[in-house]
């Protein structure tokens, strides 16, 4: 029967999985909340990050350098895509947004298959992250602890930026009331592009560090986009704190579900989402504009 140490393991598993979901999805929640863009292409930036990290680490480059590049490149690509592809879509209907962004996914998927082949493309983690680590009451994968640390650092930095900086204040203002934000003279376009760049860079980073759980492969962008959207919707579109809470909750629910009801685990997550949304249709912690 599950002991206390086992319960702790399950919680750690859930949190580390949740951290990956959080890092990848937080950018999506802000762009969906801020720009009202139904962006199904977000997973492609995470996938690009994963492939870049895979390519660099397999070719002997330093792991942390690989992570850096795996965030910078998707960030730049995201910025370019925002200016050229997505900006004309903001005033179009949701159908146009869905079609264009899903088309973007297909293009990236085909490109990745063409360059890297149809097989999974692993990131080579440093040795100390692939071994079990003694954490006192048991051994536990070092990789999972690394995920928790990275996720916590990113959450703390984002929390500081969004709650404590001028950029964050503008961002919150623009999410809550974009028309008023424009009216008082904010350059919302620049804000949009900046947020998009950061969101895609984080997705790339998440795709790279999370590669041990969500492994890079051509179908990645399509396969996991539902998970990322679920985090955004359950957390409340545009809510940074909401996406954190939602990612943790879903990570833990999925993990606990898999342990106790292995066969039904695939459905359990969606059942949980169903219940959560019945309870809070606007998400767990929606921003003020929709609360």
């Amino acid at each position: 029967m599950p002991s206390l140490s086992f319960a702790a393991t399950i919680i750690l598993d859930g949190i580390s999985y949740g951290m990956v979901l959080f890092i990848i999805s937080v950018g999506l929640t802000v762009t969906m909340g801020l720009m009202r863009l139904v962006n199904l292409a977000h997973g492609s930036f995470a996938m690009i990050g994963g492939y870049i990290a895979g390519y660099l680490t397999q070719n002997g480059y330093n792991f942390y350098l690989a992570l850096l590049i795996a965030s910078i490149v998707p960030g730049i690509l995201g910025g370019l895509a925002e200016v050229t592809l997505f900006r004309p879509l903001y005033r179009k209907g949701e159908l146009a947004q869905v079609l264009l962004t899903i088309g973007f996914v297909f293009v990236v998927t085909a490109a990745v298959t063409g360059i890297f082949g149809a097989f999974p493309y692993p990131v080579k983690f440093p040795d100390y992250l692939t071994r079990p680590l003694d954490i006192g009451f048991r051994t536990y994968p070092g990789y999972r602890l690394f995920l928790i640390v990275v996720g916590a650092i990113i959450a703390a930095v984002l929390w500081y930026v969004i709650e404590g900086s001028l950029f964050g204040a503008r961002l919150r203002a623009a999410v809550d009331n974009p028309r008023m934000a424009r009216a008082v003279g904010m350059n919302v376009n620049v804000l949009f592009t900046g947020t998009f760049v950061i969101g895609c860079a984080l997705a790339g980073l998440g795709g790279a560090v999370g590669a041990g759980i969500l492994s890079p492969e051509p179908s990645y962008a399509l396969k996991y986009v539902v998970l990322f959207l679920v985090v955004v919707i359950v957390g409340g579109e545009g809510s940074f704190k909401g996406s954190f809470v939602a990612a943790m909750a879903l990570g833990v629910i999925d993990t606990v579900g898999k342990y106790f009801f292995t066969e039904a685990a695939a459905y359990l997550l969606y059942a949980a989402v169903f219940v959560l949304l019945l309870w809070r249709p606007q998400g767990l912690l929606p921003p003020k504009s929709v609360a």
């Binding site: 393991t9 598993d13 097989f119 999974p120 994968p141 759980i213 396969k223 342990y259 292995t262």
Partner: protein, 400 residues
């Protein structure tokens, strides 16, 4: 205008004379996925066929002493399912006038052509489609690949023989996974072993941490996995090492997840994994050496054969031999009659067709993943000779 008619007649005559001197073309239709999620099958089939033709030439001498050119007509199923397969088969038969069909990576695709080929009595050489019952769907089906039970049962026997008594199973939640779990556990418990836990994981699962925790708690001698090639099996192996199962002495058994051409996706964690399969890429039979050398010559040093390659090779060899003996215009039943009594000259090792079931009987190899010259490869550690599909032994044909 008589000069004109005469000229036309002369040209026509010279054309037909030219055609008669060149070898008559015998078309073989090959249906497989060349694009989409299963694209790798079509490519591997085609490369092996081209390697075979590079070695043996494109023509074969018929019983009448004439040369016949064997020409494959490739059709892409675009990973679009059985309806598409049916349409392609009709087109190949009616418009391209193919003499035989070959290929078929997925079981539903093979099943979809049964009705059509029954009507026109056309032999079908199945080069993958591993659902055990398939060859019962049409008397014109010949299979040169394998079945899941054929792979799984010898592994269970080997596990018991090597002293493993308690096994935990994690199998994928789709039809081949059910077959694997069912046949593995039946055989293993029949021998006296014990299945102490069994989980089904979603088909595309990549987060195996929790499963490994359950296995750790159950403390089996070995973990048996049946996972689709690609990210699920790679992730499972990763979680297996990361969670300390390897260090805890729990062996990892599988069924062909560690094919050499996908080995790059694994890291050294996979070393020591034991799998059963009907083709080991490192085997030293002359045919396999020849196949590998030719593939390397045609497609570069990274080109690696897999089970699709050997099946396409063997299927092509069967086609060549049946044309040599029967010519290009024999009755479908005649071809089938020839093929079902054939022994295969296969890079995989000894194999033959079971004349009653028209399905392959072959050696199964128990292999361990090892690192040789800096490369991860499968090395044979045991051979189970001439295994017949256990499903068919369990479900004997109904006598009408």
């Amino acid at each position: 205008m008589r000069w004109f008619a005469g000229a036309v007649a002369a040209v026509a005559l010279s054309l037909s004379a030219g055609a008669a001197s060149a070898a008559e073309v015998v078309k073989i239709g090959l249906i497989a996925d060349f694009t989409g999620a299963f694209a790798v099958w079509g490519t591997q089939f085609q490369h092996a066929i081209e390697a075979y033709q590079a070695i043996h030439g494109k023509t074969v001498k018929g019983p009448d002493g004439k040369d016949y050119e064997i020409q494959y007509v490739y059709r892409d199923n675009v990973s679009a399912g059985p309806d598409k397969t049916k349409q392609l088969a009709e087109e190949l038969i009616l418009r391209e006038k193919v003499k035989m069909l070959a290929g078929f990576d997925l079981s539903p695709h093979a099943m979809a052509v049964a009705d059509i080929v029954n009507q026109v009595k056309m032999p079908v050489i199945i080069m993958n489609a591993a659902t055990a019952s398939i060859t019962r769907n049409s008397p014109y089906f010949i299979r040169v690949s394998m079945t899941i039970p054929q792979n799984v049962v010898p592994l269970a026997q080997w596990a018991y023989k090597s002293g493993i008594r308690r096994i935990y199973m994690i199998t994928s939640d789709y039809a081949p996974g059910y077959d694997a779990a069912n046949f593995f556990s039946k055989e293993f418990t029949k021998l006296g072993g014990q299945i102490i836990g069994a989980d089904k994981s979603p088909q595309q699962e990549t987060n195996f941490g929790v499963y490994m925790e359950k296995v750790l708690q159950a403390k089996p001698d070995a973990l048996y996995m049946f996972q689709p090639a690609g990210s699920p099996s790679v992730s499972l192996v990763k979680a297996y090492t990361e969670r300390g199962l390897k260090q805890a002495g729990i062996k990892l058994l599988g069924t062909g997840e560690t094919e050499e051409f996908q080995m790059d996706a694994f890291n050294d964690d996979v070393i020591g994994t034991i799998t059963s399969f009907h083709y080991t890429e490192t085997n030293k039979t002359p045919l396999n050496v020849q196949l590998r050398a030719t593939l390397t010559k045609l497609y570069g040093p990274k080109e690696t054969p897999d089970i699709a390659s050997v099946a396409a090779w063997d299927g092509t060899d069967l086609i060549y031999r049946s044309i040599a003996v029967l010519g290009p215009n024999a009755d479908g039943d005649k071809y089938i009659d020839f093929m079902r009594h054939a022994k295969l000259n296969s890079p995989r090792g000894p194999a033959e067709i079971d004349p009653v079931e028209r399905d392959i009987v072959q050696n199964m190899y128990i292999r361990r993943v090892e690192k040789r010259d800096g490369k991860l490869v499968n090395i044979d550690i045991d051979t189970v000779p001439m295994v017949k599909d256990p499903w068919k032994l369990e479900n004997p044909p109904k006598s009408n």
